[in-house]
């Protein structure tokens, strides 16, 4: 009962007492009992007219072949997707759609380890897409939850399994035609994170200062394919990249980050946006030239849309061109987060993908339901899931792709094991994620027979308008005679 309805009832109660006393005091005592009754009925009906009354009603609907079938309206979380695996330190985004068919706003919240991470409010009577994000702190498998709350009532609660994978260190080669602050800071940061770094800096004619951190010493004077093979990304300024490095990068899928050589004359503070993420201000020259190919994808822009970094495909590899060469000032300012985000994005954009065998599964494997398993591997695989063996079938056209079917018998985390690869999957229970619109409707088909349930339905207004009119009419007539 809200405060408003209680106020209405209280006021009516007061009015009733006053009116009853007035009726009782009247000198003519005829029809006293009837008058009192009529007054009471009037006020009760009046109060009900102002604040309608809801009554629980038993609803039943018989399904027969004759009744028209109404479309099933999904409510709650009707779409949701999230990465099942992600590397440590990465932002985890849960995106979906919520259909709120209630009048009140609903709060969607994700929580893990008894801690709330993020929340969003969906206003009443709307269907809205939502995005929730957090950085998982654990490493390994864990089950987060997404909860829909109305006030303190839980409307819906669904599991969000996620596996945070440990980082594999990268190997990065710096080539520079002059000593560079930015390289020095970046190399130091990467070494602190456990990555391997080699650096070749031209200090005089054919003389290179070198640095090897976290890796064996290499002969860097001649950049042969055997040396380059050991690196994931090469960071260099334009004049320091020999042609053979470019050629190798295009053939073997090595990432290249090329910095501008020109010294900017007209630098000014600019706020930069990296994929929409706002970076702190940096002294840059917007007019500095940047080789922009037709197929280049802009990475870094300012608020006027001027481009500062691009990524281009070059054969198997990728080339990132950038004209920003003083990111170390972010580190000096203590803007570690921006620095980390910038360089993580740049290096990831440049680096090629890891080659790996792997499983692919249909989304939302469910207990006692068929799940399709796809495995990419060479040779005849033997796949086991727990104690049961999965028999794989080779793809007719792609010899390295194997397909199989799996009926999980247990909910929760399970491991798929092949000869060289394993994968943890989460099998959802029968009641998880029932409202998703991507699921076939058969899961919601109404069982034959009768559907019964209770629902709050408003009482028909005639139930109080008619007695109100009758009692008022009586009171009026009683005065007249």
């Amino acid at each position: 009962m809200t405060i408003w309805t209680s106020i209405i009832w209280l006021v009516c109660l007061l009015l009733l007492i006053v009116l009853l006393v007035a009726e009782a005091r009247r000198t003519r005592k005829r029809w006293l009992a009837a008058r009192l009754l009529a007054t009471t009925v009037t006020l009760v009906c009046l109060a009900m007219l102002i604040s309608p009354v809801f009554l629980p009603q038993k609803k039943s609907s018989a399904i027969s072949s004759l009744t028209t079938v109404k479309p099933f309206v999904r409510k709650g979380i009707i779409a949701c997707n999230w990465p099942l695996q992600l590397p440590a330190g990465r932002e985890w985004r849960i995106q979906g759609t919520y259909h709120n068919d209630l009048q009140q706003p609903v709060t969607l919240r994700i929580s893990g380890f008894d801690t709330d991470m993020d929340s969003v409010v969906v206003p009443g009577g709307q269907q809205l897409p939502f995005t929730l994000k957090t950085v998982p702190v654990h490493q390994g498998r864990a089950l987060y939850r997404i909860v829909a709350l109305r006030g303190t009532d839980t409307l819906e609660q669904q599991p969000l399994p996620v596996e945070v994978q440990p980082l594999t260190p990268m190997a990065i080669l710096f080539l520079s035609s002059s000593p560079d602050f930015d390289n020095r800071f970046l190399a130091d940061w990467l070494v602190q994170q456990g990555d391997a770094v080699a650096m070749r800096t031209l200090v005089s004619r054919d003389k290179y200062a070198t640095r090897f951190s976290g890796m064996e010493q290499q002969p860097l004077e001649k950049l042969t394919p055997a040396v380059l093979e050991k690196f994931d990304v090469v960071i260099a300024n334009a004049s320091a990249v020999p042609a053979e490095v470019r050629r190798y990068a295009a053939e073997a899928g090595l990432g290249l980050i090329i910095k501008n050589d020109t010294v900017s004359a007209h630098i000014q503070p600019q706020t930069l946006f990296l994929h929409g993420y706002r970076l702190p201000q940096l002294q840059t020259d917007p007019a500095a030239p940047l080789p922009v190919a037709a197929d280049a994808l802009p990475l870094l822009k300012d608020s006027l849309g001027r481009i500062y970094s691009t990524v281009t495909l070059s054969g198997q590899g990728k080339i990132v061109h950038t004209k920003v060469s003083n990111t170390y000032s972010w580190q000096l300012e203590g803007r570690q987060e921006a620095y980390q985000r910038y360089w993580s994005t740049m290096l990831e954009m440049a680096a090629g993908r890891k080659k790996a065998d792997g499983f692919t599964l249909s989304i939302l494997p469910r207990i006692d339901e068929e799940t399709e398993v796809l495995l990419e591997t060479s040779g005849q695989p033997e796949v086991r899931a727990g104690s049961s063996v999965l028999y794989m079938q080779q793809h007719p056209f792609l010899p390295s792709v194997w397909m199989g079917r799996y009926w999980p018998q247990r909910a929760g985390w399970q491991q798929l094991l092949a000869s060289r690869v394993s994968r943890w999957i989460y099998v959802f229970g029968k009641d998880d994620w029932k409202n998703l619109s991507s699921l076939p409707d058969k899961a919601f088909a109404v069982p034959a027979g009768e559907l019964t349930g209770t629902a709050n339905a408003p009482l028909s207004p005639w139930w109080y308008i008619v007695p109100l009119l009758l009692s008022l009419a009586f009171l009026w007539w009683e005065q007249k005679i």
């Binding site: 405060i3 106020i7 209280l10 950085v135 654990h138 864990a142 990268m170 951190s213 796809l374």
Partner: protein, 710 residues
């Protein structure tokens, strides 16, 4: 029965009054209900049900006689002539006189209109009810906002009951706070201890039966054995605790839960100086007394406070320092936690001369001998002798020297006047002081010109000699004087004629001479001159001196500012020979090579893994990760040692998990504690994993290059 009419009228008034009383009772109890509705519908009902009978009993509205109404009418309406009660009597039995009076009064009663005072209780009740209705609505929203379930959960976990070993009947812990706190010995009967830093703790454990050994194990793995009394059921031990942490009780080899041992550190004292300002300049002539006011606070008590003052005298290399300690007047015997300190320093008594500086700070010591020093405050007595030196005038840019001389002259004259004060008559003294004021004014006007202020061009003109004192109202007299002293040479001089008729205000050209900073300083100088003039005109040359000195100092600064100096430079570089560049012999040069192996050690990594291990233990995968949990527990116990209140429950839960006596709740508790240690991991570059099936792309690329089909 003519009286019955009046009777019903009086009775009607009575009923009306009663009704109003009843309504106001109802409204007041409704007010109580509205206020109660803050606590929900039941609060509202309770408020109404309690308030209504109370009010009815208190007011008792139906206990009102007609006689009282008659008295009320008599008191309110003088025209009823105190005879209303006659109307209530039986008219037959009344004497003639009474009957005549009744008739007279009855006429008056017809015209009576009840005064607004009659309705006042009802109106007041209505007001109270509406106010409380508003308060109820406001209160409802406020309560709704603060009544969050999180708070309840927090408090309920905070006052969790501690578990003790079954063999222990009773525990008494005596806490002897250290002497510096000034607190007395206290005791408690629970194991979780919150005590002052360096308290001496004394445990007294009572066991149900005689036991063979009983000891306490602390988080730094030291053990404190308890000593038994004669029947081995009462065990005691004591220890001086200097570090926060936790401990366990070991009874016959059986370990209890972990209990927290939280120490409250003693904060160093805080001192705040409210007067003087951090940098104070005492102008010559101002009082050389400084009042130092400060407040000192500490969490337990202050044992001492003093001022350390250093006088720096001399200039250049010949600076001498003299340090001395000054005590405050108040005694610190009481060791109170807060003191208001004040002390007056006489700078001349301390031997300070013009040109000296005083540096002082206040040092406050608390009862634990922790000392805090305030910032250093500086008091300067400027050297006035330097202002009189002509160094700046003789060489360098000459910045209107006669003006400086004038200000200096005024000071010299004023000092001379003060010296001769005793030998002069009062009139003479006053006249000379006034003359000095005039000089000061002329000087001010001259400077005012630079700011574009209104100027007087006829200073020194004999025609205007008498009237420059009353500058504001003399301009219109010029006309008359123009005629009397008509010079034939000026005939046809339009400017001269115009001068007589125009009133020259701001001259735009003058106003642009200086940059704003200099103008601002000039303005400040003029203000000082104004003040100096005021004092001189009031025949108080002594009071004028500080302002005059300040004006002089500001002018001196102005003079220094307007100088500029450009040093001569001469540098010749040898011309470059481009053909020789990069042709040196480099064979024997081997450039630097840096090699390093860095082992990255992240203590929290194991905690991150432990979180997911615990997650898998929820699903009864209890075989794996036991050593991970052991390592995580070590990290957690380090955290618990520094902040036992926050991490002890989690450590306790993790211990139960490792012993395999746990519930899901323990896992949640342990995860929550571990989660608290962690912050979001840093974002590192990572090669993204390839999607399976991408071998196709590679093949496509290869064939695209070679140009043949597979």
């Amino acid at each position: 029965m003519s009286n019955s009419n009046y009777y019903t009228k009086i009775d009607g008034i009575r009923r009306q009054w009663m009704r109003r009383q009843l309504y106001s009772c109802l409204l007041l109890s409704a007010a109580a209900a509205f206020t109660g509705s803050i606590f929900g519908i039941w609060g509202a009902l309770a408020g109404f049900v309690v308030a209504l009978p109370l009010l009815l009993i208190f007011v008792y509205p139906w206990k009102l006689e007609n006689g009282e109404i008659a008295r009320y009418l008599d008191q309110t309406f003088p025209e009823l002539e105190d005879s209303t009660s006659l109307l209530l009597r039986n008219p037959e039995s009344a004497p003639q006189l009474e009957r005549m009076q009744v008739q007279k009064v009855a006429a008056a009663l017809e015209t009576v209109v009840l005064p607004p005072r009659f309705y006042r209780p009802l109106r007041r009740a209505l007001l109270i009810a509406s106010v409380s209705l508003l308060a109820g609505i406001a209160g409802h929203f406020l309560v709704k906002r603060h009544y969050l379930p999180d708070h309840i959960a927090f408090t309920s976990s905070a006052i969790k009951k501690e578990k003790i070993l079954p063999g222990i009947r009773q525990v008494n812990i005596f806490i002897q706070p250290p002497a510096y706190t000034g607190k007395s010995r206290r005791s408690q009967s629970s194991f979780n201890i919150t005590a002052e830093d360096s308290s001496r703790l004394h445990w007294e454990l009572h066991t149900n039966t005689a036991v063979s050994s009983l000891s306490l194990i602390f988080n730094d793995s030291t053990q404190l054995p308890l000593k038994p009394e004669k029947d081995s059921t009462v065990w005691t031990a004591g220890r001086l605790v200097q570090k926060s942490g936790f401990y366990q009780v070991m009874l016959n080899g059986e370990l209890s839960d972990l209990y927290q041992l939280q120490l409250l550190p003693d904060q160093p004292p805080v001192v705040h100086i409210s007067a003087p300002k951090p940098y104070t300049v005492i102008e010559f002539g101002q009082s050389a007394r400084i009042n130092i006011q400060a407040s000192a606070t500490d969490d337990y008590g202050i044992s001492d406070a003093f001022i350390t003052a250093t006088i720096a005298s001399g200039s250049g290399e010949a600076v001498r320092f003299k340090e001395q300690q000054l005590r405050f007047g108040s005694s610190f015997q009481g060791h109170l936690p807060a003191y208001q300190l004040s002390r007056q320093i006489n700078l001349t008594e301390m031997g300070m001369k013009p040109g000296d500086e005083l540096y002082f700070h206040i040092a406050v010591t608390d009862t634990r001998h922790q000392q805090t020093r305030s910032d250093v405050y500086i008091i300067t007595l400027p050297d006035t002798a330097q202002l009189f030196s002509l160094d700046g005038m003789v060489n360098g840019v000459n910045f209107k020297p006669e003006y400086f001389r004038s200000q200096r002259q005024i000071i010299i004259d004023a000092e001379q006047l003060l010296k001769e004060k005793d030998s002069l008559s009062k009139e003479k003294f006053n006249t000379r002081s006034n003359d000095l004021g005039t000089d000061q004014k002329l000087l001010r006007l001259r400077y005012g010109k630079f700011l574009g202020e209104e100027s007087e061009t006829n200073i020194g003109d004999p025609r205007a000699a008498g009237d420059h004192d009353d500058h504001d109202h003399d301009h219109h007299d010029h006309h008359g004087k123009e005629h009397t002293e008509n010079d034939p040479k000026d005939f046809g001089n339009a400017e001269k004629i115009l001068d007589g008729f125009t009133h020259k205000h701001d001259n735009a050209e003058d106003a642009t001479f200086f940059d704003p900073a200099i103008k601002q300083q000039l303005k400040a100088t003029l203000t000082e001159m104004w003040k100096s003039e005021l004092q001189l005109r009031l025949y108080k040359p002594q009071e004028a001196l500080p302002f005059a000195y300040k004006a002089l100092r500001l002018l001196k600064d102005l003079q220094q500012q307007s100088r500029s100096y450009v040093a001569k430079t001469g540098a010749k570089t040898t011309p470059l020979k481009p053909e020789k560049r990069l042709t040196g012999e480099l064979d024997k040069i081997s450039p630097a090579m840096k090699k390093e192996q860095v082992t990255v050690k992240d203590e929290t990594a194991i905690v991150r893994i432990a979180l997911s291990v615990l997650e898998s233990w929820k699903d009864n995968h209890q075989s794996n990760g036991a050593d991970t949990l052991a390592a995580a527990m070590q990290v957690l116990s380090q955290q618990a040692a520094t902040a036992p209140a926050a991490y002890l429950p989690a450590l306790e839960a993790l211990r139960r998990i490792r012993q395999r006596h746990f519930t899901i709740k323990d896992i949640t508790l342990a995860q929550k504690g571990l989660r608290r240690i962690l912050s979001a991991p840093s974002q590192n570059p990572q090669r993204s994993a390839d999607i399976p099936g991408s071998d196709l792309q590679r093949r496509y690329f290869r064939n695209l290059k070679t140009g043949h089909t597979p």
